[in-house]
């Protein structure tokens, strides 16, 4: 029996819904490195109610990363689309680190790709570009590193749009505008914007 194999399988029970469902089914998949007894132990774990709590904590932790780092994007998507997109993203990408920033950056890329493959949400392009720029500006940098300056192009009036999303008001009839903003972070990490 390999402890590494056991730990890996236990983590998959918590993080991998398809694997969990397999382990809850009658036909337990064969897992390299585990004895029959170990597999039975895992199968029993899969049915313990406490495992659902662990799974909920894991999902909550991942969702919290997105909600806290991409709040406007998440709000704009709404619960149903956010849940669907997050689920699709998580199925493709296991949780790789504790860091919020990495996960949020990867989710922003996922959404950008999904915009090209069928995801429809009005104003998402502008809001996503804005928050992606913020992520870039929030990325930790050494004292010696030059502070990045990021340019974001908006197709709609950014002030009206971002304020409405921030206030939880579904944005409608936002005036079209061709606006480019430059963003940078000061020494205290505060982000500033100015017209490009």
């Amino acid at each position: 029996m390999s402890e590494a194999a056991f730990q890996s399988a236990f983590v998959r029970l918590v993080t991998d819904e398809a694997f969990l469902n397999q382990m809850r089914s009658e036909a337990v998949p064969e897992i390299d490195g585990l004895s029959e007894g170990e597999a039975d132990g895992l199968k029993a774990l899969a049915r313990v109610p406490g495992l659902n709590v662990m799974r909920k904590l894991h999902l909550g932790f991942r969702l919290n990363k997105l909600l806290s780092m991409l709040p406007l994007t998440c709000r704009l998507l709404g619960q149903v689309r956010l849940a669907a997109e997050a689920r699709a993203f998580w199925e493709m990408r296991p949780s790789a680190s504790f860091y919020f920033l990495e996960e949020a950056e990867a989710f922003a890329v996922h959404l950008q790709e999904r915009r090209n493959t069928g995801l429809r949400a009005a104003y998402l392009g502008d809001v996503l570009a804005y928050e992606s720029a913020l992520l870039m500006l929030k990325r930790p940098r050494a004292a010696s590193a030059e502070a990045p300056v990021v340019k974001v192009g908006f197709r709609y009036d950014p002030q009206t749009l971002l304020l409405m999303v921030q206030q939880g008001v579904p944005p409608r009839r936002i005036p079209r505008a061709h606006v480019e903003l430059l963003g940078w972070a000061d020494e205290q990490g505060e982000v500033h914007w100015t017209a490009a």
């Binding site: 890996s8 990408r93 296991p94 790789a96």
Partner: protein, 304 residues
């Protein structure tokens, strides 16, 4: 008396620093780990570091890491130990700690896509370890290595758990006692974790603590949680529950080597808890601490 660092309550930390004696930080949030083989491996956040240095001028800073994953069977994260050693030297942390758990593993999807640090996945929750001789053996060697590498006492925090592990060979108290005895580490005794476990797993927290060798306890954690259906979660979401205060008195009266008590609050709950209640929590901690300090040795013996 210590308080954990969360960016959401920076103003409290700066303006009310007279109300606590040390700041406990999760050092991992002050850097980005770019993964094995990356250069530089760790990018440290200059903005956050400047805040930390300002706090360091006011009070001691203690390291309480989340990244070691000391129980991971597939590998030992030595790079993390080296980084902690650097930070211990930088901040002069009088002791340092991590969690008695694991969160890093190799899962097929992570390996296939090369995610994480060399194809690792991160569970994002502290996974319980099997309480076995084999686990003790694995941990002992690693703890000895940490103790050689970092010039300060090393503590491990008892975990919160929601399932009993198949293959457990001993109870939690025996496991903690044996680990400290054989590996020479100390304990962060998280009383709220024990309270959580007692409620979720159905045991008496006081009796469980009664079986722990309290001389190993160097730091105590307090915190709050919330109910979630039939379970009680260690969410660090508010004030310490009354039964945990009772456990604190019990432990302070019997643990001769405790150096600090820390209240843990997650930043996202700060607004809900508010300054006033956070302050009250720290005051109550200090009152308990002073009761313990004021006790004469004879009285302490009587309690034991």
């Amino acid at each position: 008396m210590g308080l954990n660092y969360q960016s959401q309550f920076r103003p409290f930390l700066l303006e009310r620093s007279a109300e606590f004696d040390f700041l406990e930080i999760v050092p991992d949030i002050f850097w980005i780990d770019q993964g094995r083989g990356a250069s530089p491996r760790y990018i440290e956040d200059a903005v956050q570091l400047a805040f930390l240095q300002a706090m360091r001028e006011r009070m001691p800073v203690i390291l309480h890491s989340i990244g070691l994953s000391i129980g991971s069977a597939h590998r030992f994260n030595r790079e993390h130990v080296e980084q902690i050693a650097r930070w211990q030297r930088r901040l002069g942390s009088a002791w340092h700690s991590d969690h008695l758990a694991y969160h890093l593993t190799n899962t097929p999807l992570a390996v296939a896509h090369g995610f994480g640090s060399g194809g690792e996945s991160n569970a994002g929750v502290t996974m319980p370890l099997r309480r076995s001789r084999a686990t003790l053996k694995r941990l002992t060697g690693r703890i000895e290595e940490v103790r050689r590498s970092v010039a300060a006492p090393f503590l491990l925090e008892n975990n919160v758990y929601f399932v009993e592990m198949p293959g457990d060979e001993m109870g939690e108290s025996e496991f903690l006692n044996t680990l400290c005895r054989e590996a020479g580490c100390g304990l962060v005794l998280d009383l709220h974790n024990i309270y959580c476990n007692s409620r979720n797993m159905g045991f008496d927290a006081g009796q469980m603590i009664g079986r722990i060798e309290l001389a190993n306890v160097v730091e105590i954690h307090l915190g709050g949680g919330h109910d979630d259906g039939p379970y009680y979660l260690d969410s660090h979401s508010g004030p310490t529950p009354e039964p945990v205060w009772e456990l604190l008195d019990h432990v302070l009266a019997r643990a001769p080597n405790v150096k600090g008590v820390v209240f843990e609050l997650f930043g996202s709950w700060y607004e809900l808890m508010g300054e006033r209640r956070l302050s009250a929590e720290l005051t109550r901690m200090r009152e308990a601490w002073n009761r313990y300090k004021a006790m004469r040795p004879r009285e302490r013996e009587m309690c034991a």
